[in-house]
C-alpha cells in the first residue's frame, strides 16, 4: 500500500516536472514565433539594416553569423578531432588521461564572457589584431572545443578493440589504423559534437561583442581582420532601443531567425546521431 502510494506520487512529480519544462519551452517559442513572424518578409531577410537596425533587414547579420560559425567549424573541428584521437589512441599514461579530462571539463565550464575578455586582452590588445571577425571565430572555436572533443572521444573510444587489432594484424601502422578505422568510424560522433557546438556558438554574444563585431554599417569583410555584424549582437543593440516599436519588432524577427538556425543545427546533430546508430547496429 505504502509503496504503491509512493510510486504514484513519484510518477505525478515526474509528469509535473516534464509538463512544466515543456510548457515553458512552448510558451517561449510561441512568444518568439508570434512576435517575430510579423517582422519577417523577403525584404527583412534580403536587405541591409538602416537606422541602427530599426529599419531595413538583417541580411549582413545573417551572413556575418554564418561566416563566423563556418570558420569556427574549420578551426575547431580538426583541432578537436586531433585531440580526441591523441587522447584515445596515443595517450596511455593513466594520470595524463585523467589530467586531460579535467582540463577539457574545466574549459567547458568557463563562462563565455571570460572568453570574450581573453580575446580582447590577448588578441585585440596584446597581438594588436584590432577588432577582427576571424579572432571571433578563433575564440568561438576554443569555446566549443570541449564539446567536440568529448563527443569525438566518446565515439572513437567506443570502437571495439577488435577493429584496431584486425587492422594492425594486417600490418597497418598505427597511423594507418587511425586513417582507415578510427576516423571513418568515429567521424559521425565528431560531427554530432560539432553541430551541437555550433548551435551554441552561433547564439553567443559575450565572446564576440568586444572583439569581432560592429553594431552596424558593416558588410562582408574582405580580409581576416575587420568586424562583421552578427545576429546575437544585433538583437542586443535592437533591444536597447526598445522604446522604438519598429526596433523591437526587428529584434523579435532577428530572434526568430537565430532560433531557426540553431534549430537547424540541433536537428542535424540529432539526425547525424540517429544515422550513426543505425550504421553501428548493422
Amino acid at each position: 500500500m505504502n509503496r504503491k502510494w509512493s510510486n504514484g506520487a513519484f510518477l505525478i512529480i515526474c509528469r509535473l516536472a516534464a509538463a512544466i519544462s515543456i510548457l515553458t519551452l512552448v510558451f517561449l517559442l510561441s512568444v518568439i514565433v508570434f512576435n517575430g513572424i510579423r517582422a519577417i518578409n523577403p525584404e527583412f531577410l534580403l536587405t541591409r539594416s538602416r537606422n541602427f537596425g530599426a529599419e531595413g533587414g538583417i541580411f549582413y547579420q545573417i551572413i556575418g553569423s554564418i561566416l563566423l560559425v563556418f570558420c569556427t567549424a574549420l578551426i575547431g573541428f580538426p583541432l578537436a578531432l586531433g585531440t580526441a584521437i591523441f587522447k584515445s589512441e596515443y595517450l596511455k599514461n593513466r594520470y595524463l588521461l585523467k589530467l586531460s579530462s579535467i582540463l577539457i571539463y574545466g574549459l567547458n565550464g568557463i563562462p563565455s564572457i571570460i572568453f570574450g575578455i581573453f580575446g580582447l586582452v590577448f588578441f585585440v590588445h596584446y597581438l594588436n589584431t584590432g577588432i577582427s571577425w576571424f579572432v571571433g571565430s578563433i575564440i568561438l572555436a576554443i569555446m566549443i572545443l570541449p564539446t567536440i572533443v568529448l563527443a569525438s572521444y566518446q565515439s572513437i573510444n567506443s570502437i571495439p578493440k577488435i577493429y584496431r587489432e584486425s587492422a594492425q594484424a594486417l600490418g597497418l601502422s598505427k597511423w594507418h589504423v587511425v586513417l582507415q578505422v578510427i576516423i571513418p568510424q568515429g567521424i559521425g560522433g565528431a560531427i554530432t559534437g560539432l553541430l551541437i557546438g555550433l548551435a551554441r556558438a552561433i547564439g553567443e554574444t559575450a565572446p564576440i561583442m568586444f572583439i569581432a563585431t560592429a553594431f552596424s554599417g558593416v558588410e562582408v569583410p574582405s580580409s581576416l581582420s575587420g568586424p562583421v555584424t552578427a545576429l546575437p549582437t544585433h538583437i542586443l543593440i535592437l533591444s536597447q532601443q526598445a522604446t522604438n516599436p519598429l526596433a523591437l519588432q526587428n529584434a523579435w524577427g532577428s530572434s526568430l531567425i537565430l532560433i531557426t538556425i540553431v534549430f537547424i543545427f540541433s536537428i542535424s546533430a540529432l539526425f547525424s546521431r540517429v544515422r550513426l546508430r543505425l550504421v553501428s547496429q548493422r
Partner: protein
C-alpha cells in the same frame, strides 16, 4: 616487475626433420600485470602444415598465438620474457628484438580472429585493406588481387557481382572467409587462427576446414580450436595446453593414439583436464 621464475630451458628434442620448424617458441613467459599467464612455453610449429592448439578455456591459447604476431604488445600490463623465433625471417633473433619492424612482421604472420570483424567498407576495400600500403597497384592489379584472394576462399562466385556493397551485408560465414581472404592478400607465411569457426554454422565451418586443408600446401597454419573432433579432422600436429603450460605436443596420430601424458589422454578422450 619481471619475475624470472627459474632457469628453465627447453629440453632438446630429437627431431626427425629439424628443417621443418618455422616458428620456435623458447622459454616464453607472459604476465598480465602480475598474473602469470604463460609459463615457460617451449613449442615448435611446423612449416606448411596445420598446427592445432587445444586446451581448456583460460589455458592461454589465445595469449600464445597473439604473442606470435605481437598483437599483445598494446595490451595494458603485458609483460613477456623469452624468445619467439621465426625462422628465415628474423635470422636468429627473437621477434621481440628491438630491431624488428612490427608492422612488417605482421604482414608475414597474419591473423584471423574468433568473431569475424569486417570493416564498414565495401567488400572490395576490405580485401585490399592490408595490401594498399605495401605497394602502389594499378586498378587492374587491385581487381586481380581481389579476385585471386576471394577465389582462394571460394567467395568470388558468391560476391563478384556485389564487390562494392558493404561487407557488413555478408553472412557471418562469408564475413569470416572475407577475413581470411584479406589476410591472404598480404601474402603471409604463417596464418594464426583463433577459434575461427566457433561462431559459425556447420556448413561454414566445413567450408573453412576444407579451406585450411588447401591452404596448408602454401602456408603454415596455427589453429586454435575448442573442438577436439575438429582437431582430429584437420590437424597434422597438436599442441595441448593447460593452465599456461604446454603439456604435450606431437603429431596428431601420436597424441590421439598413444600420448605420453595422462592429462593429454584424459582431455582428448573426454575433454576433462586436471593439470
Amino acid at each position: 616487475m619481471i619475475k624470472i621464475v627459474n632457469k628453465f630451458t627447453c629440453p632438446e628434442q630429437e627431431l626427425e626433420e629439424p628443417e621443418n620448424i618455422l616458428v620456435e617458441i623458447k622459454n616464453f613467459n607472459v604476465w598480465f600485470n602480475d598474473f602469470h599467464v604463460l609459463k615457460d612455453i617451449c613449442v615448435r610449429f611446423r612449416e606448411k602444415s596445420i598446427n592445432c592448439i587445444i586446451g581448456p578455456s583460460g589455458s592461454g591459447k589465445s595469449t600464445l598465438i597473439r604473442s606470435v604476431n605481437r598483437i599483445n604488445d598494446d595490451i595494458d600490463g603485458f609483460i613477456h620474457h623469452g624468445d619467439v623465433h621465426f625462422n628465415g625471417y628474423t635470422r636468429g633473433r627473437s621477434i621481440y628484438h628491438k630491431d624488428i619492424d612490427v608492422n612488417n612482421l605482421r604482414t608475414k604472420v597474419g591473423m584471423v580472429f574468433q568473431k569475424p570483424c569486417v570493416f564498414p567498407k565495401s567488400i572490395y576495400e576490405n580485401t585490399l585493406l592490408g595490401v594498399k600500403y605495401l605497394k602502389k597497384h594499378s586498378k587492374q592489379e587491385k581487381l586481380q588481387i581481389v579476385e585471386e584472394n576471394l577465389n582462394a576462399v571460394s567467395l568470388w562466385k558468391e560476391v563478384s557481382s556485389r564487390l562494392h556493397e558493404k561487407a557488413t551485408t555478408l553472412s557471418i560465414g562469408q564475413q569470416q572467409r572475407l577475413c581470411i581472404a584479406r589476410t591472404l592478400a598480404v601474402k603471409p607465411t604463417v596464418i594464426l587462427l583463433d577459434e575461427p569457426t566457433s561462431s559459425l554454422d556447420p556448413v561454414s565451418t566445413y567450408a573453412i576446414e576444407k579451406l585450411m586443408l588447401q591452404l596448408k600446401e602454401q602456408y603454415t597454419i596455427i589453429f586454435i580450436t575448442h573442438n577436439i573432433v575438429q582437431a582430429k579432422r584437420i590437424a597434422d600436429y597438436l599442441v595441448f595446453m593447460c593452465e599456461g603450460q604446454v603439456i604435450e605436443e606431437g603429431t596428431k596420430e601420436k597424441l590421439f593414439s598413444n600420448p605420453d601424458k595422462q592429462q593429454t589422454k584424459d582431455y582428448l578422450s573426454n575433454e576433462y583436464c586436471e593439470c
